[in-house]
Point group: C2
């Protein structure tokens, strides 16, 4: 076990091709006091309004098993309308058992990470059906694309977990989960993301993960080893696969992130406070279900509140409203002491300046808002309809910058260098002072994509834009990729599992 751990570490160190600072990026702590848009009284009032929505109106639950679980716990269930109403006592009881911080255990212990408190995790884009090509064209996602994005996600330490970066539509949906799980488990050693498309697919994925981890069911279920997103269908509806996903993940003690997707003016009230309050009610509802199934199971408060363009109805992301909603969502999550997930997002159709300023507006909203888990942190474009390798690398650059911003600033007299100021003297310079010589090798962030050369040197080298350079880096990272080591017996067992389940026809995707 010890030998294997060491081997794995070497693999991780070489895969990324990053400098000495990269190890800083594995486990991030956000040192900043969260930015607020609401007073404490306002937060309490919004929480009360959300509880009122759940008591008076409730949510429609399309899963009979979900309704039964709620009914058994004392919720008011109307089987004629599928509406489930919760009194505030039931919600309070559930919130009392939610863990404030959660460990995510990877097959490589150096990839373990933690959410909640000061801890922050960055996850790649999830869900795009398409891929944006470097030439500006688009194509439908394939399994080859999926593997490339696993490689990109594995290669950079600032991406802390794996994901469902693109939907591989060249693989039948009944066996797709076998292929995507196999890719996540063999090309990466970080915590994987499994889709909730029915119990059969999840049992397959959990079984494969246990093989990769070398853990039995009891050990697997004692801690979170994977995560999923369960979206509500705003307003006030929880569909079959999402409800059953909460049931399955909670029963196995794996991390479920309950995320209402509330577009203000479309599926939610047109105001920030309104969209957040509806989202809060729906998140409370899903979180309550998780704790009914298994008190203490890890669950996160997901928020995804943005606005539509009122001219066209198109969803917009990384807008000022989005940033303020992130600040507010963080306050609501802290009010109930549940770890909070937010996102980086943009509506841009290209890996251009809009994509970057919208994504960065999202990231600041999330990170200054005190977010613990950023989904879609790298590679998202076009409102989530395409994944882009260029955008992935631009995002990794921004994420590494945030990781550096999180590092504390030292303020001792020695660090200030009062003696160096005396040594340099008026009009002098600090290049050769002892203070500089002791520190210069690792004093500053060394960028991946940014080019700081002067115009002449940059132009002579092809005058490439940052987006072009990002594409070059992505291609190079994929070409140089070395998968993390895995015991031969485990690799064979995983392959055999996939082959067997494929020959059996896989498992139906529930929708």
């Amino acid at each position: 076990m010890r030998a294997r751990r060491r081997e794995t570490t070497r693999g991780a160190a070489t895969a990324g091709g990053e400098g000495t600072r990269a190890s800083r990026y594995r486990n991030l702590k956000n040192p900043f006091v969260p930015t607020r848009v609401f007073s404490d009284d306002q937060v309490a009032s919004l929480h009360e309004m959300a509880l009122g929505m759940l008591e008076n109106q409730g949510m429609r639950v399309l899963s009979p098993r979900g309704r039964a679980a709620f009914a058994a716990a004392g919720a008011l269930v109307d089987e004629s309308t599928n509406m489930v109403r919760l009194d505030r006592g039931l919600v309070a009881k559930a919130l009392a058992t939610v863990p404030a911080e959660v460990n995510l255990m990877a097959r490589n212990p150096y990839r373990n990470c933690r959410v909640g408190g000061p801890h922050v995790v960055f996850a790649p884009v999830a869900g795009p059906p398409g891929v944006l090509e470097s030439n500006g064209g688009k194509h439908t996602g394939t399994m080859a694309d999926f593997r490339d994005f696993v490689k990109l996600s594995q290669a950079y330490d600032v991406i802390h977990v794996l994901g469902q970066m693109v939907e591989p539509q060249d693989v039948n949906i009944a066996v797709r989960h076998l292929e995507t799980t196999h890719a996540q488990l063999t090309l990466g050693d970080k915590v994987p993301y499994f889709y909730c498309r029915g119990d059969g697919q999840l049992e397959d994925s959990f079984a494969m993960l246990r093989i990769a981890l070398g853990k039995d069911e009891a050990a697997f279920e004692s801690e979170a080893h994977c995560y999923t997103i369960c979206n509500t269908n705003s307003p006030l509806q929880l569909d079959l696969p999402m409800t059953d996903g909460i049931l399955k993940f909670a029963s196995r003690g794996q991390l479920v992130i309950v995320t209402p997707f509330t577009l203000a003016g479309a599926m939610a009230p047109i105001t920030i406070a309104g969209a957040l309050t509806l989202a809060h009610a729906e998140a409370l509802f899903g979180i309550t279900l998780s704790q009914i199934v298994r008190p203490g199971t890890p669950v996160m408060y997901g928020s995804f509140t943005s606005n539509v363009d009122m001219k066209s109805g198109s969803p917009a992301f990384g807008t000022p409203e989005y940033t303020k909603a992130a600040f507010g969502a963080g306050q609501l999550a802290r009010h109930i002491n549940v770890p909070w997930r937010c996102s980086s997002a943009t509506a841009s159709n290209a890996a251009d300046t809009q994509s970057v300023y919208e994504s960065q507006m999202s990231l600041w909203g999330a990170l200054l808002g005190g977010c613990h888990f950023i989904l879609h942190a790298a590679g998202w474009l076009e409102g989530g309809l395409t994944a882009s390798a260029e955008k992935f690398m631009l995002d990794v650059e921004m994420l590494q910058m945030f990781a550096e911003i999180f590092q504390p600033v030292v303020a001792t007299a020695d660090e200030v260098g009062v003696a160096a100021v005396a040594e340099a003297g008026p009009g002098g310079h600090f290049f050769a002072t002892a203070h500089t010589m002791e520190r210069y090798r690792d004093a500053f962030y060394s960028p991946l994509v940014s080019d700081w050369r002067n115009y002449g040197a940059w132009a002579a080298d092809g005058a490439k834009t940052a987006t072009q350079r990002a594409g070059d880096i992505a291609r190079q990272t994929i070409a140089n990729f070395q998968p993390p080591p895995m015991d031969q017996a485990i690799a064979e067992e995983l392959t055999a599992f996939v082959e067997r389940r494929k020959s059996e026809g896989g498992a139906p995707a529930v929708s």
Copy 2:
């Protein structure tokens, strides 16, 4: 006077071509609690170290008049080395008279603005010798470029003052100030920026500004009507034109922004705390001089701390160190209760994704740091060596987004729309609810540059990147520009002034 004011307002409303929300952007208040990187004790300790530098080492002052002013106030002046040392009592006495907030009075009262406290001002790029063309080429700045950038700066309400957006090198430097002042005063009605290149040039610019304002010397000097930047030559040196500029601006009661430019690892210690402490000492030194000249004269604490690329020695901007330094500089400025100026900056050679992510990192550092005046907020590229119209518009978009983020979020039950949630019902939508219908026209920020259409519509319309669209908008804004109204007699008097002073040979530029 009343009629003229109304006329001017119409002019302002038509010049920008912006929507109804634009008027929000004229006077901004930052509602957020500043983000901190230091504890209060650390800030006090850095302040003490800076005072120690001024007491023990002092600064070299190249202006004899500056040294005389310091000596008369009780500073220790060594005329053999030009070194001036300040005891902490002298600094404390000066800080006691600095106004915590300052009004900037424009010729159009609707363009008046305020710095300090919650108030924030955005100023355009200053100083680039070159212009980046839309095709990627570069040329040396001309007076035509200068006028174009005045038009861009005047046209958008979110740019609050004018500036020296590019250096027009097709005009002789002895008369250049006459042309640039004339352009600022006739193409704009916002507060202008004058360079400190000797008393003669400043007296010309002040005289022209008094003509435009219709104010006598006493009225002019009773409030700030223009601003300047006085950079120290870090480390620990104040050159002739900068020292004399502080003397002149302070004696006339105009706003001087004392800004050390401390590149960590080059002209400042290699650490963030060290570069900030040196900058703090130098800023205190210049601020003290301003208050010696005229206690109570408006002055700002300028910070411009970044780092060099230790591989090449090139300056870098918008780095993680830059962002953290901004947070820290804000704390030091608040410690002495002096309004704080910071910057938006990037080292990128193109108006590409790097330029945007670096500039936005700078802006968040400044604005979450509690900055009152952002210089270079629009149009800066290439470490300040080029101005770019494309970048200007991308920055205006980001600044407008920040202006929107500053608007408060309402959290009443009516705003939340509890009734609308009941009306929409589970699985419904909010497009047609009364709550939406009452608010949809002005619910959200309407972007200038961002394109939120779907991929098909965007591709069919030319698949333009955000940078290309920004260039289109800049060209359209310049083409449609209407100068703000000005009394004919005043316009003629200004022209006559310029002609007379040009015929007299202008005034020498002191360097």
